[in-house]
Symmetry: C2
């Protein structure tokens, strides 16, 4: 990676030098020789005065490739577009794949969107308008409308001619979709089959009519799962009546999988890990609200312990095991939380009661094993079997409760329609601190007579 | 997902019925109409007596597609293969894409591998033998040797004829690789360009010689990052001298991204979330070792608190804030851990000292903000400014230490050559419990005179 960054810096220096010394055509040639991804990286990193020359020199299709390959989450693309006159920006938006153009427009205030759309040909503006209304995180927001589709009554040779004609515009040429007379999606032909069958064969003979498609409103994670399972290079998106609306290509699926993984991971840690290059100040400011919120929940735990201060005064050794019990229960809760979130993510949450019982039993086994271990350790260490028993019983119960909370809370959040990943590990551990000390001190209170004497 | 499982069950029932009633040719037809992924699912789930018929009926290329689409991590594929005579198994292995055949062989004891290899034609056996030696997690273990490659002096039409001839064997037909006279990789041609240029054009005119390739020993995560960045459909793998060894296709990259995400997520929670369908017993058995190991570390914390029992007896209210301090510091540590692991995963860990200082400053800000909050709350709540001050100072210090531990430990593990994701959240929180109580009780001890009086 470090190596790549270095290469990028060198390329930027080289291209800047070319512009500096007025070697415009050499600049264009060197820039166009780059891979699309590199063009995008270089363009975004060029000093602004050179970008002002670059967008004047480079052809529209090259600029469209640049903007197609910039990541809205990493670069202020709208800002880069605003460096040019709106006419030029509109041309670029029009030349970009619709899904990327829509992503970019969604970063702008609505007035600016309207300006750009008014400068685009009506047909293009309309197809952007249709896509811009799909919710983020749905299939509709990922699809592009540059796909290959044909009527069902053609021959292989005719379809191949069409593929060749449209190959440069289509986002993927791996599949050609087949529509019936009403424009409904009825099948798919792979380019591989087109290439390996004679020109005069009717395409109906190589059309696969067991077509797998998704609806525009489907969740992006489900779509990603299907594409990953089936090893597709793209998947068609339809409306409820099965009209073909667009296709989602595998490169967007790769991004979705990555994005969802980062979300789940961030959730578990209560920090947004996609922003790893923040300044210390920004980084801290983002972490503090969570910590303070959890601190307030933690104050409840402190209140509970505080209410037992008579007990603590009598049996000061009880304090020694507070963090052992809260910590271990928190760890168990984090484990069951992670399993529950994952189970929901891969969509295997449907067998309700069985899963629940399964988790209760797992929690019981984990709790008993850990509780008995701590009973043995404390009894041996403090030569106090009653203390050992109290700590062991409290530990078993605290683990079972934390385990169940870790399992149920993400399920509940999911049922309420939110992303279960927002139930963070720190939230579960802090909540489990509260239940753990409640259990611990109440159990200890029961054994008080024996403990105070022991 | 539930819907899909239902459909699968129906298909399995239908196909079983066909076999039951002796409608063999209908079975073959219905089975072959399925998508490869569905064939694989159905085959694995068929009752064993029907599988015994199925592998006799189905042609080798269909069986190869079945085995190509089974996931070694989810299904005992080696067991499925062992249901047939070794000759048949060897034929299937030979027909499969080499990367998948190698994955499958790697699940077997070495004696069995030797048997299968001895039954394969020498050339095929040799190419499998070459791949089987690559470490899991490297580019070499992901590549297949079924790629399209041509010499540099051909014309577009000649290459297209070659593509058509080899289209059925190649794992991906999106790119044709160009080799020089010595067999070194010098460029790549996209099928899109082949389709849109005249037959008599020399391919050198549409060859991209800025080729991005990876070495066979490169880490799979780095390879995945490149494919994701560049939106490639496949990437060539070479040896150190730049000889083309194979290609990695995007479907394998999708699996890698998913696998790495699951690993990181599992690490953070100290539980393997890829095994979500375990029985309660197995699930518990896998979680217990981590919990017990952390329990032992937690006993150290208990020992530290226990050693301050004189102080606790005098100032029982100190116990109330143990879990608040350990919990909050643990949360802060988990946040910085997650950021550090992610930073290493995306490969931006190179600017050592600056990152370190950045994290120290972030920890200081987070610690001060949280410490001052808790100072205010405790002072107001307990009307005891000295207690508030002691808790606040301890909190600030405990957070700074936990924050730094969360940052440094994964870095250290990475430098030692292990996966930083093994530094789990629970490990960091349990370790931070220890440092937190050490800090807390030592700070409290300093303030003892005032506290006992207050």
């Amino acid at each position: 990676m470090a190596e790549q960054t270095e290469q990028l810096d060198e390329t930027i220096q080289l291209l800047s030098d070319l512009l500096q010394s007025g070697q415009d055509s050499e600049f264009i040639e060197s820039f166009e020789a780059l891979h699309d991804f590199e063009m995008a990286q270089v363009y975004a990193e060029l000093p602004e005065q050179f970008r002002a020359v670059a967008w004047r020199l480079l052809p529209i299709d090259v600029l469209a490739a640049v903007f197609d390959n910039l990541d809205v989450d990493e670069v202020d693309i709208a800002g880069l577009l605003a460096e040019m006159p709106p006419q030029r920006g509109a041309q670029i938006l029009q030349e970009m794949y619709t899904d990327n153009a829509v992503d970019l427009l969604q970063e702008m205030p609505s007035g600016q969107i309207a300006t750009y759309l008014s400068l685009m040909p009506k047909a293009d503006a309309d197809s952007v308008r249709k896509l811009i209304n799909y919710d983020d995180q749905t299939a509709g927001s990922l699809m592009s409308t540059e796909y290959l589709a044909v009527k069902e009554d053609l021959k292989v040779g005719e379809v191949m001619r069409l593929v060749k004609k449209q190959a440069l515009e289509a986002e993927s040429i791996s599949y050609v979709y087949v529509l019936d007379q009403q424009g409904l999606l009825v099948g798919v032909i792979s380019l591989r089959d087109l290439l390996t069958h004679p020109d005069d064969m009717p395409v109906s003979e190589i059309t696969n009519d067991r077509i797998i498609s998704v609806r525009a409103g489907d969740d992006q994670q489900e779509v990603a799962q299907i594409v990953a399972d089936y090893n597709f290079l793209s998947i068609p998106v339809t409306d409820d009546k099965n009209h073909l609306l667009g296709v989602i290509t595998v490169d967007d699926i790769v991004d979705v999988i990555d994005e969802e993984a980062v979300e789940d991971y961030s959730g578990l840690a209560a920090v947004n890990v996609s922003q790893i290059n923040d300044s210390p100040w920004h980084s801290a400011v983002k972490r503090i609200p969570w910590l303070i919120a959890l601190l307030l929940l933690g104050m409840l735990t402190a209140t509970v312990i505080g209410s037992f201060d008579g007990l603590v005064r009598q049996v000061a050794i009880l304090a020694a095991f507070i963090s052992l019990i809260t910590g271990t229960a928190g760890n168990a809760g984090t484990q069951s939380l992670a399993l529950a979130v994952r189970r929901i993510a891969v969509g295997s949450e449907n067998s309700g009661l069985r899963d629940f019982l399964s988790e209760v039993i797992a929690g019981l086994i984990v709790g008993l094993a850990t509780g008995m271990s701590v009973f043995a350790i404390v009894t041996f260490w403090k030569h106090n079997m009653i203390l050992g028993f109290a700590v062991g019983v409290a530990m078993t119960m605290a683990i079972m409760v934390a385990n169940l909370a870790g399992y149920l809370i993400p399920l509940l959040i999911d049922k309420l329609g939110f992303d279960p990943a927002v139930a963070s590990g720190p939230f579960i551990t802090t909540l489990s601190d509260l239940t753990s000390v409640l259990i611990y001190f109440n159990v200890a209170q029961l054994f008080l007579v024996h403990l105070a004497g022991g």
